[in-house]
Amino acid sequence: MQSIIKTKLKMKQKLKVVVMLFFVLASQFTFAQGKKITGTISDSDGLGLPGASVLIKGTNIGAQTDFDGKYVITASSNQVLVFSYIGMKTQEFPATSSVIDVKLLADAQELESVVVTTALGVKREKKSLGYASQQIAGKDLVDGGAGNANVANLLAGKAAGVEVSRNTNFGGSTNVVIRGNKSLTGNNQALWVIDGVPVDNSNSNGANQASGGKGYDYGNSVSDINQEDIESLNILKGAAATALYGSRAANGVVMITTKKGKKGDDKVGFTFSSGFTVGTIDKSTFPKYQDKYGAGYGFGSSFLNNNAIPTVDTSNDASYGDAFDGRMVYQWDAFSPYSKNFGQATPWSASANGPVTFFNTSKSNINSLSLEKSTEKSSLALSYVNTLQTGILPNSELKKNQLSARFSQKINEKLTANAYAAVTLQNTVGRNTTGYSGNIVGAFRQWWQTNVDVQELKRNYFASEGQNITWNWANPNASKLKPAYWDNPYFARYQNYSSDNRTRLFSYTSLNYKITSWLSALGRVSLDTYKELQEERAAVGSIASVFGLSPVNETSGYQRYDINFQEINYDFMLNFNKKFGDDISLNGVVGTNSRRNKRDNVLASTIGGLVTPGVYALSNSRYELPFPIENKASWGVDGIYAQGSIGFKDTYFVDASIRRDVSSTLPNGNNAYTYPAISGSFLFSNLVDKEWLNLGKFRMNYAEVGNDAEPLSLVNTYSRSLNFNNQPIYTLPNTNKNSNLKSERTKSFEVGLETSALDRRLGFDITYYKTNTVDQIASTAVSSASGFTNAWVNGGNIENSGLELQLTGTPIKTENFSWDVSINWSNNKSKVVGLPEGIDNLQLGSFQGGVSINTSRGEAYGSIKGTDYVYTNGQRTVDQTTGKYLISGTSDNTIGNINPDWIGGVRNKLTYKNLSFSFLIDTQKGGDIFSLDMYYGLATGLYKETAAGTIRETGIVNAGVAPDGTVNTVSTVNGNLKSTGPGKYSNNYGYLAQPNKAFVYDASYVKLREVSISYNLPKSLFKGTFVNGGTLSVLGSNLWIISKNLPYADPESGLSSGNKSRGYSTGSLPTTRDIGFKLTFKF
């Protein structure tokens, strides 16, 4: 406590000054003569315009609107008020009534003027901003998402510089990274903010899941955001735009402005919408199996005996066996009394119903009801959304109920209260398993017998009332049948399922006090809290696999993971906005933010299996429970900041801000850090008088953002293991903490040009940026000879630079028809300039297959390393005995990089009268991905190319050279694996024949991401009813992967969100094509 008293004293002094200022200003306020007139000046969408002016005609007396577009002026009723705002048509009204609300319409002849919400929820005219931001209207956002339960998915392809990787997991997480990965190993996710208040977006997947081990993707928590509440979404990309949010905004901010109750007509204000979406798998993201050979590893290996009717060796989870010849054989189902083939031989042939028939049609039903209403003094927006979604895997269901309310009340002329509360109840059963082991989709992609009929497995599972009748008997002749490596996939889905539920409350209340016409104070308290329970099950009779806290593989068990999270923010700020004369405008904010977080987890599991089948409770453990893992962390940041913006002649703008944070996660002495930002913009279009140019703006900024460490990163603590021979055991964790951490810092520079021309039918925005993140706080793999496998280190410099382009245009615009196009494109180049002292390479992850993803000095972030070919004169070298490629002896070769060269999106919208049609094409160019599916699946002979022609019998001649440099002529069959006896075959492809490099694919794609057709039902239809209007939409998402290079899987498929979310693909779900219908009524 004493140690930070100094800091606190300073804070207190500063606050005192702020409070005094508040009093002085308030007491100086004097009332003028006449009648008081109030009202709101808004734009055509009903959004309040801040800084708009009201002038009494013929005088110099005037007022300005506040941040909500509200004004107060005193005038006598014979006077006339002039309402004006840059870019809008000026309007005049006599000052006769006491409330005058004015809706200003855009003036095509005037400059483009868009009001955007910037950091902390402050509304600003976009033209005055010295940094890039991109706004997406709520409608454009939501219309794209057929049956989409995660708001993050809706960003894909819609904004320049924003990389959205949505993996294919059911209810899974989506990675949103703006302008590249800035942190080497830390969080690179954009910060999500609702009405100025940050929202937690963590994913609570285990470390094992993240590194490709067995696990479930429990999704990222912004999926709790109620999409119906979104009025608009603004993306703040650079540090200059976000610095006021402090540490967490270094990765950019996705700002959501919620709907407020709109004033309007005398209708009730209800909106009801109902959407129904069906999804089917995109077959280009699932294997195409060969149909010539069955179970086994080599010719003659398919059968256990040479009887007249042989028995298939069901223990092989591969399809490299004997050719299908239609002879009668006993297959796995001949040994199941529940099968119609029990005791029966069936023909040796490729199955009629392969794994693709395992997938269901997914269904999603989203219904929402919302109410928006406002009166003179208050406004109200309520919404209820109900989501019910089933996935393509059997027994998967996601339910979501979202309730939210936004309320605003004007208490008196000066004081306004605002409140927002959103509750989300999310309940999911049967997420798909991710990773290498225990993942049945992984089995389909890597370890499978092409002679197995999936529908027969289904019949057996149900006929046996839920028994594990598997295709993969360890020994079908054994007296007691048991699975070798894989469960019946239906058993796995229906019995070994996960479930999770999260109850979340996000809310804030604020009071806004208008001290003078140009100064207001805001106090706000916000709370984001959730409670989550994740449960995992393994039914009695399952194949043994990693489970719970047990250090050994378990054949049954139950695990529960309880998570409690809480974040409270206290904000106090003073906003000012004043014009001096006609030429100078000044606005800004001074404030303080105090944030407190708590996270409390308990992980517990059974050990030794379950006693009573079907009872998933800790007390059903065979042995005494392992010590549960408890983690409890609290952390907080206290920040003070000031930001000011000065404008001259509405042409020159300069913005400067500074923030100082004190963080609990850094050691005393190193825990305070201050960082500045400055930006400027210049509207050159005001100086050139060109008819065609509506807006021309040049902008530039420099900003720094400081960042702290994760909580509990300073001091090593021990973890408890089970007692051994009654002795307590503690062991040092594998990650070494670091008590000398200092804050990390992102320095960014940005320059941009923004123009709007030809009656604003053509818009152009280009930005170049460069960020350097120095003194990185990173948790990285280190040589375990040091005693630790991982460590927190501090240092280094990672540089990201890139170009962002946005182009918007309206090529055709007639009375009834318009065509709008928006294009965005960006590239990001990263370079590791420096690494923390004592570290040569930062490893982000190392995976099954022996590949790793790294950050090495001088290379780009995210290089994939593994084994490579051996090159002779630049050619791949072939072993002259086996005919296989020679493989490098070491795994430190750079064989790819996970980062794309560029990303882009094109959105077209065609509107004809009441009908509109839009589609979005989304592209990633470049970036590499390692496919563990191909690594194994080619070796196990599942894929079509492994059975091309007679290559299994005759081998292939690999393109390349002999070690002496001559062209290779040796066939793979020349090796000792040729068909000279049982168990032999020519192993042409896959992990035993090729280096890791062979399984690195270009992750480029072009996708038809969204299609939407929307029809505004004619008003005449509802004449005489209470219905005010209606819209019918047909929405499609992920309809078509126009182009990709990764075979049999979606190049976007990764494990979950986070730094390891791309570049490695194993056992991912196929992509779902969604088509939905949505009907909306207003009444």
Binding site: N553, G608, V637, L722, T731, N734, G889
Partner: protein, 499 residues
């Protein structure tokens, strides 16, 4: 209005009043623990890595062709990269796993003990002071034991710069022979420092239950093992001879001295073999043909413990043992299975045993080191010890030894072949030491399977390649080490494996 302003300011003030630095404490996990709990952790952890047969971690029974695999042959054919086996083997000793300790826990336990201050007025001053010394010696003995395994696996390894934690995340590698010499110095110190009249870790010692006399024998046996390897290298004859001679006076003298760890009947504290072979429900391993045929040919009575008599004809008659073919798929049901004894959950885990010591002594005699007893006596003792340890009765053991193919005087081949082959039989289930013995003596003469991975370059591996993590994380030192040992290859020999 003032009230409102007060309210707003108060909100802001309150918010900055809670104490930040108090927040960053781990309430649930201790930052200081008893040194003994780390020692137990390491004893268990090291044994875990020595004993298990998980394909991801310990594949030495396969290299040694005592066992082979049924369906997935990668490890038997030396494809060790895909599963990152080197990484796991290396990490298990250096850093331990998330459940078990290794060298890092030992180093930490030692630093806690070293920091412990015993006040001279303490009535137990002497006892505590000596116990402290004993504890440090016990820790160091296990460290020497672990470092030897690492050197014998990889060759040069980080040693002088190892275990420095944040002091050095990029440790350089030291020459294997230099590490050996230092290990010998250390183990001598440990032996001298132990005072058997006083306690050590007491009940936290789960190997010997704090019997320090046995710890001294254990230390001497490790010293013998180091000495014989060093002797085989031909590099430091004087040091090797001195080590062997001094150690031989107080090595294990019977199976009662064996360094073994007791397991419990229930998971997870069972023998890891039970987990890998039984509990996990997989049928990955069968005894290898190479080994089974050798055992059967010599009428070895251990066969009935080593192997199961699971093969029967259609009439239920027992069929002869049939080992799996290395490098080929072996349908589990068609081959002899591993014997029941070593699949028991509480089957003990062996660090080092008497039979192994006697084989080393026999070898030392043959290498011309002046120690007591003849090679034949030590050889016979070794076989008898092994028989006894596996529960074979004396009559059967004697009958076995009486065979001309077994008796030292008449058994075929050089001393290397005689000792090497018998050590191979006895070191069944001691995969790593069996491999070391075979590498040093060049017997048994095992051949790589025809479909061996190209990385093996047509030979049975002489070492493991360095971990992928070292290649990527500690590249400069890795490259220097790889060059120093003659290439980071499977066929590169450890310094004591001179032919």
């Amino acid at each position: 209005m003032k009230k409102i302003i007060y309210f707003l300011s108060l909100t802001a003030l309150l918010s900055s009043c809670s104490d930040l630095s108090d927040l960053n404490n781990d309430e649930k996990n201790p930052s200081i623990v008893p040194a003994s709990s780390l020692f137990t952790s390491a004893e268990k952890g090291i044994a875990e890595q020595v004993v298990n047969t998980n394909v991801n971690k310990n594949i030495f029974r396969l290299v040694n062709q005592q066992w082979t695999e049924t369906t997935y042959l990668d490890e038997s054919v030396y494809q060790w990269v895909s599963r990152k086996i080197s990484d796991r083997h290396w990490d298990a000793y250096f850093a331990g796993t998330s459940n078990n300790g290794g060298l890092s826990d030992l180093a930490l336990s030692r630093s806690y003990i070293e920091k412990e201050e015993i006040i001279s007025s303490d009535p137990d001053f002497k006892k505590k002071t000596i116990a402290k010394k004993n504890q440090i010696a016990m820790i160091d003995i296990l460290m020497v034991y672990s470092f030897q395994i690492l050197v014998d696996t990889f060759g040069d390894i980080p040693y002088s710069e190892a275990l420095k934690e944040s002091g050095n995340y990029l440790p350089k590698y030291d020459k294997a022979v230099d590490i050996y010499k230092d290990l010998l110095v250390r183990i001598d110190q440990d032996i001298n420092n132990i005072d058997v009249g006083y306690p050590g870790f007491e009940s936290a010692d789960v190997i010997y239950g704090d019997d320090l006399t046995k710890w001294v024998k254990f230390a001497n046996s490790i010293k013998l093992k180091l000495g014989v390897n060093l002797k085989a290298s031909g590099l430091e004859n004087a040091i090797a001879d001195a080590a062997i001679i001094s150690a031989s006076n107080d090595v294990f003298a019977s199976n009662a001295d064996n360094a073994k760890i007791s397991y419990q009947k229930s998971v997870p504290n069972t023998n890891p073999l039970y987990v890998d072979l039984v509990y996990g429900g997989r049928n990955d391993f069968v005894p290898a043909e190479t080994f089974v045929n050798a055992i059967v040919a010599k009428n070895d009575p251990r066969a009935k413990v080593y192997f199961a008599q699971n093969l029967e004809d259609d009439n239920g008659n027992v069929l002869p043992y049939k080992g799996g073919v290395v490098g080929e798929k072996n349908s589990f049901g068609d081959y002899t299975h591993i014997g029941a004894k070593i699949q028991e959950p509480d089957f003990k885990g062996t660090y080092l045993d008497y039979a192994e010591v006697e084989f080393l002594l026999a070898e030392a005699v043959e290498r011309g080191v002046a120690i007591n007893g003849s090679a034949a006596t030590h050889y016979t003792n070794a076989i008898e010890a092994s028989m006894e340890d596996w529960g074979i009765n004396k009559v059967e053991a004697d009958a076995y030894l009486a065979q001309s193919t077994v008796a030292y005087a008449t058994a075929a081949g050089t001393w290397q072949q005689k000792i090497g082959e018998q050590a191979w039989y006895a070191l069944y289930n001691r995969g790593f030491e069996g491999w070391t013995s075979a590498r040093r003596l060049n017997f048994p003469a095992i051949k790589p399977p025809a479909n061996a991975d190209a990385a093996a370059e047509g030979q049975v591996p002489s070492r493991m390649t360095y971990p992928i993590r070292e290649q990527t994380l500690n590249a400069t030192n890795y490259n220097a080490a790889a060059a120093a040992i003659g290439g980071d290859k499977l066929k590169t020999h450890i310094f004591w494996d001179i032919d």
